[in-house]
Subunit: 339 residues, 2 copies
């Protein structure tokens, strides 16, 4: 099998670390791994396929000979370096929000729109974590009944804001438990330990946050359907890893019963139904540790609209919401013979 | 001013303790306080209006001479003892779910339907915590524009499940932070520390929990309007005190702008608008400690329906959701000259 030179930009971050794990776990055919990071992290040693690999400093010359470059080091890094990587001949899979809404950049969740990969002009975007896990559950319902509107409220883990945010939850919790108070929050706007914060990312003029509008706009783009409306409230909760979502989905056509909805959901790869509520059969974030699958439960008829479905959706935000989806896209490049 | 003999059933519980605090803070005219509890707690001493009062064992003869009896000791206690209290001449204000849907029992949130108090036949019910804080925000919108549907997802604190549940969050958190793992959950179905659980109360045949259907049915009853539909997803979060709610409200008539919605919300007593999001101006649960007010923020136009409003609603679940509302009802009895 053909093998590829793969660069990971932001290799020492929470998502970058998972990306390297995923390349290994999903057996992506890597001839050489080039982990790239800022000067601060350069020189660190990473284990990949049982070999030690040294982290290099990201610079203009980093992409010589690279065929696939996975980016997860923040929007400004992607803005500057993704075009350089493309110029050097690499295909970029970008996990930041920078290129997602660019009309020349496909935004891909392989279970939903794998075919869009081939439209790329050098860059393919990975959607926002909260969008990725949601569209997985929407896909079969959209295909069979059509969807007019989705109301979603999220319960998002601190890992979505990076390693320092996870540390803030841990240290703040310890400080409170030790009777020393929460201290001054640095990564979050307010205390996150034993609290919930209805803000993720900054606010827009319409009163929604960028994170909330990402769920709206990215979903429209992934389905290629501007009439599919999503209205979101995104909330940070004191969880380390794993985003949860409460969805109320309005279908365009009537469905028979919930069994029919379950049957449809069962057809989606990497989506697992956990729905025996009387036996505690519903997913929660701690159960998604090290899991690539997205879990759906609490599936029930929303009696307040003609054809409504309510459900609860949980996923490891570092995996389906980031690293797993990115490496899935890389595999699509191979399988669709685009590299 | 006339004064009254007041009994508090479940006086040593989380809500009972707050009820006694509220009687004092809201200066309810008490001539004698009779704190009642199970044998386990009898003999304990409680401070009320700077006097020590001994907790007595609840029994059939507890209500002799009592004029107002506040109950918060679980449904089965209310089932057995509320009729005995009424028989003895007391008016019962019951915080459990037992009588809430009884057609002979008014279900009251004073800011919404204070007039219903006078329909009582001995018992007045206090709504579920998550319902009480929600209807406060719905009231002015209902009056001015009508409401056809509300989609709500909750972020409910452990205090809603009692003192042992709060202890479980604290001890489990400490155990995890000390590297000893979460231990076996007792009050919750799964680990609550650093996790969220999409189950509150038991499951019904339609896939909703009792807690979720309380929000639906109690709201209809409080507004006296069966056409007002609420669909809820109730989720426990690792917070000690303070419930949060993400609401998507569909109005029957168009509104001009969000300023108009704010103006309407501003008319509700005990409802405070905190809505300057760019300056971190939105409410979170830790900010509701010892507060009777309910807070609303993140008020924005829900663009996915013709006349939609999305907002975020936070309240101390032991106060507006329980003790504060109960003592407000007791004051209505006085103000409406019903005792």
């Amino acid at each position: 099998m053909k093998q590829f030179v793969v660069a990971v930009v932001g290799a020492t971050g929470v998502v970058g670390t998972e990306m390297i794990k995923m390349l290994e776990e999903l057996k992506f055919p890597v001839s050489e791994l080039i982990p790239l990071a800022s000067e601060k992290s350069a020189g660190k040693v990473i284990e990949f396929n049982k070999k030690n690999v040294k982290v290099k400093v990201l610079n203009e010359d980093s992409f010589k000979g690279v065929q696939v470059a996975l980016f997860s080091a923040g929007s400004s890094i992607s803005e500057t370096y993704a075009p350089l990587a493309v110029k050097a001949g690499a295909i970029v899979i970008d996990n930041t929000s920078f290129y997602r809404m660019d009309k020349d950049v496909p935004l891909v969740v392989p279970e939903v729109n794998a075919a869009d990969v081939k439209k790329h002009k050098g860059i393919i975007a990975n959607p926002n974590c909260s969008t990725a896990q949601m569209v997985l559950a929407l896909k079969p319902l959209y295909d069979k009944w059509g969807i007019s509107r989705v109301v979603v409220s999220t319960y998002q883990a601190t890992a979505g804001a990076g390693k320092e945010a996870m540390d803030e939850l841990a240290l703040q919790t310890a400080s409170i438990m030790n009777g020393k108070g929460p201290g001054v929050p640095r990564k979050f706007s307010k205390q996150i330990a034993f609290n919930v914060i209805p803000q993720i990312d900054t606010f827009l003029e319409n009163g929604f946050t960028k994170e909330e509008m990402k769920m709206t706009n990215e979903t429209k783009k992934i389905f290629g359907d501007d009439s599919l409306d999503v209205v979101a409230t995104c909330v940070r909760v004191p969880v380390f890893i794993g985003h949860s979502e409460s969805l109320n989905i309005e279908l365009k056509k009537p469905f028979k019963d919930i069994a029919e909805i379950r049957e449809a959901l069962r057809t989606v790869p990497n989506l697992v139904i956990v729905d025996e509520p009387e036996k505690k059969g519903y997913p929660t974030p701690i159960e998604t540790a090290d899991q690539n699958d997205t879990y759906v439960g609490r599936i029930r008829r929303d009696f307040s609209v003609p054809s409504g479905v309510a459900l609860w959706n949980v996923s490891n935000n570092l995996r389906k919401g980031a690293a797993f989806n990115a490496v899935q896209i890389a595999w699509e490049l191979v399988n669709q013979k685009l590299i």
